[in-house]
Symmetry: C2
Amino acid sequence: MENQLQIYNTLTRKKEIFEPINPPHVGMYVCGPTVYGDAHLGHARAAITFDIVFRYLLHLGYKVRYVRNITDVGHLENDTDELGEDKIAKKARLEKLEPMEVVQYYANRYHMNMEQLNVLPPSIEPTASGHIIEQIAYVKEILSNGYGYEKEGSVYFDVVKYNKDYNYGKLSGRKVEDLLENTRKLAGQEDKRNSFDFALWKKAEPKHIMRWPSPWSEGYPGWHMECSAMSSKYLGDRFDIHGGGLDLLFPHHESEIAQSNAAKGQDAVKYWMHNNMITISGQKMGKSLNNFITLNEFFSGKHEALDRPYAPMTIRFFMLQAHYRSTLDFSNDALKAAEKGMNKLFEIYNSLDRLKASAKSSVDVRKYEQLCYDALNDDFNTPILLAHLFDLSRVINQINSGKETLTKEDIDFVKNLMGTLLFNILGLRDDHEKDDSKLVEYLMKTILDIRQQAKENKDYATADKIREELEKLNIRLKDSKEGAEWSFV
Amino acid sequence: MENQLQIYNTLTRKKEIFEPINPPHVGMYVCGPTVYGDAHLGHARAAITFDIVFRYLLHLGYKVRYVRNITDVGHLENDTDELGEDKIAKKARLEKLEPMEVVQYYANRYHMNMEQLNVLPPSIEPTASGHIIEQIAYVKEILSNGYGYEKEGSVYFDVVKYNKDYNYGKLSGRKVEDLLENTRKLAGQEDKRNSFDFALWKKAEPKHIMRWPSPWSEGYPGWHMECSAMSSKYLGDRFDIHGGGLDLLFPHHESEIAQSNAAKGQDAVKYWMHNNMITISGQKMGKSLNNFITLNEFFSGKHEALDRPYAPMTIRFFMLQAHYRSTLDFSNDALKAAEKGMNKLFEIYNSLDRLKASAKSSVDVRKYEQLCYDALNDDFNTPILLAHLFDLSRVINQINSGKETLTKEDIDFVKNLMGTLLFNILGLRDDHEKDDSKLVEYLMKTILDIRQQAKENKDYATADKIREELEKLNIRLKDSKEGAEWSFV
């Protein structure tokens, strides 16, 4: 099948044929999590959106280097007053808050969540704190090209100067003139020439824990700097795809574009991709609205807004039912519907092994291949793809009930097509096995009850047969007065 | 129970009462993997040894900050000849080998292995490449104290100079005089004053990919430097425990001691701990001997030296059956015996729930608590601990068979003691559930066979009862001519 993948490019505001800069290689950079808290639906949506892009590009045969960063340079501060009371504690490294311990804890939990959601690990997952040298070098380049200025140990990006030579705002559509009118002087912004100038390097306040030496001060890099420096290091000064949530478009991605032009004289990114936001019952998600639900809360069901727990695959399927550039409204009903739909598809897929083949096919199932890939090639349109798979499922049901027929070859074709799409490209996973430990207990209880009943009915043939069957599975029964017990041999 | 934990300190060559520098805090640093290949038994032994230390210290109520590094600054080189032929490739960042991609791949696999072995993640897992600034600062301190010298862009540690003020060799027992006699000039060592001087910073050869700017050259830190710099950053200039494999004792740990004295004027570590090596059928493990078996090969059974696959918990139990300071000889028979022993303990533990309580206890089970903790407190003597648990299991068996009796309270005591020791402290996990997916299929097949038989016997009551029981488990039966099919609702 011909590759006609089209990607909506936020920069040009239109769908474009995907043509990598250096085929068969593809470089992709996605803004990862800030690891000072548990991941929520917003993190899941970005991760799943670009997991589909990653999986589909791999499926198309590209060699993809996928870089997703971890933002671990945050703003944790020592409470110096409290520590000041205890001079021994001041000396003891171990008694101080260590930001990297917090970072490690939440990074581990994030990775666990990603594994639960069946999101593939990126090729490289660099941390901001691990690339201070590269960020300092990048800031130096901007300074030497005249687009930054130092003030009191901090370095700022000169937006007005830059905008004379380039176009600050070309990604978000904002204009510097409007920014000038709409911003006020804020406290602590006195060092900047303009309030919308952004920090490339910040001198650390005394309370700030994370700090590194630099030519300008002991401090830490500005937020936008890590993505420019790390994407340049691992993907080069010009690469194919940069992704992230729509909330990062301005100022983060706009500033990344400015930084790369200021330092390297060119745009770093060919295709900018942004996934849209999640609303909860129509409202924006936010900590103040008490509708801020973490993934772990979804999986356990422990949040007042949730009727019950939802499996990671339900969350994933729910996300895939909307196009990544549409907003997606969460509700209990929507999740339950997603779960039902997904299980239906799995059931149909599993039924294919038992489907009876006929000499002739009475329906055309081959057309679904083109339809499904057309959907994917149309800017990763997963809801349309799923609609085709549901159509195909209805066809399979008709064959199940004898209304239509398929040849062996066509059944194999459907099995292969559905398997590739559901599991390889959409990254779904039939998780029924996850609860199997409990299920084994229940099933064993059911079997032992039947055997007990058989014995009471003097049906020893059945009772013995059950014992024999279980022994084949290395399960040993021990009869006692209270009934049978079982254990693995 | 009184805490009388004693730890064998490699530095003093004797067991010492464990007294943390700054209780209740404990700082522990362990040398982690070099992530350029899959983990093998040696990695597993170090990880499990210090996982037991970590778990037991947590159990004793200490606040442990456990740092285990990842060595990702390696020696990957570009093959310049090959690249030289293709000038486009030379320009394309994406077409070059990216060491961090290799690092990420093997780090992910290492983490997966650790999870399979139920090894707890450390509090902080810093990478060498992420701490170049800290390492450069450390080298500067050594230079300014006069214990290092620069030559041709590289910096070396002056062992002879250091040995005049301190004692190089106090950990390993080696003497500098002997080192002087026993070493020869090797190629590429011309820059050093003495062949046993070690690099603190190396100027990168043109082919070397991983390189960073420094005051001396574009290069990379010496191997011993990362552990000194990262332990100092996260645990302070003096901390409690430093662990690693015995193969790291010299020159790695010896050089760490030298570095910390040279830079900070004091030993960094109070207790040095070393786990012993693994032999395979009496031979040293090594790539050239073809007895180098990765953990993944153990888990899959795919290695000519293996009779069959071994579960991660079998590997873990096998390791715990030897004291960490003894060598441990691997063989198929030893692993099979370990598996059998472990399953026996799990079976006994699981049988406690079904154990019949009596009014009086005829045996003293309370004494096992002291015995077990005495073993742990004796330098983490897990084989002795397991011997006590096997003794206790024999007692439980006698109660099972009615030869001895226990009260409800004593049964609960045993349950609690065994559970804490087996699962919390020894970190074992009853993994029978792992194969449950297949088991569910077999059990369902057994149940459906019984139901089919019942229907053929016109025993519809049983057939219906089976259907009802399964429906409670959300399993739906669909009868057809070929027999019943089942699916989850």
